[in-house]
Symmetry: C2
DNA sequence: CGTCTCGCTTACGTTCGCGTCAACCTGCTC
DNA sequence: GAGCAGGTTGACGCGAACGTAAGCGAGACG
């Protein structure tokens, strides 16, 4: 079920990361698995956090930026100023992502054109050196 | 004009990079400024390349990936197999970017919702502790 | 009982993308 | 001709995000 506890190996297989990575994220206080004895156990919340961490990484955010962002996703009973600060961070990241989104759109169009050009050159070259 | 040669300092000011960065990119064979004596001079082509380099970096591509991509933007008279290989690289990057674009869209919506939630919590808290 | 597998911690090593000297050349200008 | 500004080439340093190796339990198995 969705609230199943997972071992570190199961997490690694599920998310395609190494144990080292998970322990590293824990050391940087991005995830907080429970302990059964010495062993780590990851629950639904940890998995949700890891999903966000990996996503954030793909967009080029540092682990520290991601750590701050994660507070947004936690309904923890912090105080007003903390919530406000967290919202600030969230807005900054959002602005980053929106900029990235716009620029990415342009870059994709650009790259598509370059590929098309290169393909045309390929075809032209084929015409000049026919094989059949 | 657009074909003006620029010194390293002018480039740095224009693109907000350091001299070290430009020399580093040159060492990695991403740009090839001409020399007047010992000094580097950057032309329109170098600037176009630098634009693409910085853009690629913002999307999380490595300098090596960018270097390969830059060949797409050069009409250099390479041979068929080279052009084909370059197109391959371009398509791979394009696929990366398209994936990134789709995921970014989701992440932005997600983040917007979280910020809205946090704002609601802030307002709720204000209602419970009115100042006026 | 030995040994295997998992996981744990500690700690040093590595890659990327530059920053930061140090030492040198070169063309003014005073 | 001394100084200075601007550029050059090494070479070493550094932070981020892990990789890797060493050595230590603790439980499972035959």
């Amino acid at each position: 079920m969705s609230d199943t506890l997972m071992t570190i190996r199961e997490m690694c297989d599920a998310f395609e990361v190494t144990p080292r990575t998970l322990r590293f994220y824990e050391a940087r206080e991005l995830i907080f698995p429970q302990r059964r004895g010495q062993h780590r156990l990851y629950d639904r919340r940890d998995r949700a956090r890891l999903t966000l961490i990996l996503r954030g990484k793909r967009f080029g955010f540092s682990l520290e930026q991601i750590r701050q962002l994660l507070e947004l996703y936690e309904p923890g009973g912090v105080n007003r100023t903390q919530i406000a600060a967290t919202i600030e961070v969230g807005r900054d990241r959002l602005a980053d992502m929106e900029r990235q989104y716009a620029e990415l759109s342009i870059a994709i169009d650009d790259l598509r054109r370059q590929i098309a050009d290169a393909e045309r050159r390929l075809v032209a070259d084929t015409d000049e050196h026919p094989t059949g």
